[in-house]
Amino acid sequence: MTDPFLRAKELDEKYRFLNAVAQDTTSTGAGRLQGYSVSVKDCICTKGIETKAGSRILEGYVPPFDATVVSRCRSEGAVILGKTTQDEFGFGTFNVNTPYNVPLNPHDLERTCGGSSGGAACLTAVADFPHLALAESTGGSISCPASFCGVVGVTPTYGRVSRWGLIDYANSLDKIGCMAKTVGEVALLLSVIGGPDEYDSTVLDVPEEDFADLEISVEGVKMGVPEEYFAEGVDDGVKDSIWVALKVLEGEGADLSEVSLPHTGVALSAYYIIAMAEASTNLAKLCGLRYGLQPEEGGNFDEYFSRVRAEGFSEEAKRRIILGTFTRMAGYRDAYYLKALKVRTRVIEDFKRAFEEVDVLAAPTMPVVAPRFNEIAEMEPIQQYMMDVLTVAPNLAGVPMISIPCGEVDGMPAGLHIMADHLEETKMLGVARAWEVLR
């Protein structure tokens, strides 16, 4: 049998998806994940394995505890493989914003894996041993790389999965989720990690659910197709791939109808304002004193903290801290932060209205297939942010979503995005499973 640790290290030399490998390779034995290796995104704490969220400011930090999701995997018999690379703190769409490994897309090494959970998607795509990935999404960081690498990625309802042990990006948006090669496997991992946790004060008080036994029929399922997700700017080849899938599902009895989510476009700005405001407060705790980067002392506290932070954060993190600090400053707070939170209410209303009519929504996950690194290098920050236009609205609304491979454009995978109402993961997984069987 392949040793997953040796094999992962071997594959990593070519694809560069790892930030750290576990030393302890023992399994606790029996359980629902027995026989699986689980990789963990670098922003999720793992006992005894360096955890730095892709940032130099956390370099050398070895957590003395496991995040709840990690301990649940271990107690179900999984072996923790190591840490997968990501954009620093999740700040990015292409997994290039990190001083560490930039993963290479297995379908074309000159292209991005997507971000921010790029390492997780890359390893999931190339693993030739039983493997599941723990990933995390704030504004699309699971769906985007799953789409670009041609794997399945599920982002659960906000609050279904404990965030205890997650290095926060934006508290009101962060969700830990899963990636795997198949819908059945993400459903299995979601069943293991979901449910209440005494350590996370924002986790939802809903019973644990087992998603493993999936209904695969789409007969009579009402599927809404949001017109805004097929608008200008979405690649024609990607649109065609999605329509092929939708027609197949319709042929199997799904009831397709057009719906409108009118605040889709403006959700992007609201998302970035809220995410940056929350990020700037979360990152305030990182000052080179208790863990991570800790250079020699020098100067007073002000000089020391400013020096450590300037050294430890990369450019995108600095940009987001500055913008986030600005949008919640006295005098600007109402125009930016509070206004964005009100726009978020409008975005949530869009989804609630749509889900009164339909069971699930179906759309392209990303407007394009994975871009080349040389194309990304030419993009201004605002152009990079705009790549998230189809994933931020469901993330702002906290609804569950799954990206599943759906055809190819120029030899690169496209992703079908299925979204459902809060806590309706079962419906969404059932449709995804049906497409997986039919495609």
Partner: protein
């Protein structure tokens, strides 16, 4: 354009100072320009009618999970990752 949507270099320097980030001259130049473009794009939220709309601090109704306020043993040493330890204390940089 109203003044609210402008970050000039002076404001940027102030923001860097309160964020405890020592920015280089190059970063200050680059950010002044980039942040301006980003804020212009974000400005579209002004166009949405939010009269009487409540802000959503969370996407879903979140309630605090509370437990008994009882002392429990800590399972690990919170100082083990720090090199700024003296005895059982963290030693910070000087104040002035």
């Amino acid at each position: 354009m109203t003044e609210e949507w402008v970050i000039d270099r002076r404001l940027l320097e102030h923001l860097a100072q309160v964020s405890r980030l020592k920015l280089t001259d190059d970063e200050l130049d680059k950010f002044t320009e980039q942040l301006q473009v980003i804020l212009q794009a974000f400005r579209e939220i002004e166009e949405i009618d939010t009269e009487g709309v409540e802000p959503s601090f969370h996407p879903i109704d979140v309630r605090n999970v509370l437990r008994e306020d009882a002392v429990k043993a800590w399972k690990w040493d919170p100082l083990e990752n720090s090199r700024h330890v003296e005895g059982r204390y963290l030693k910070g940089p000087r104040i002035t």
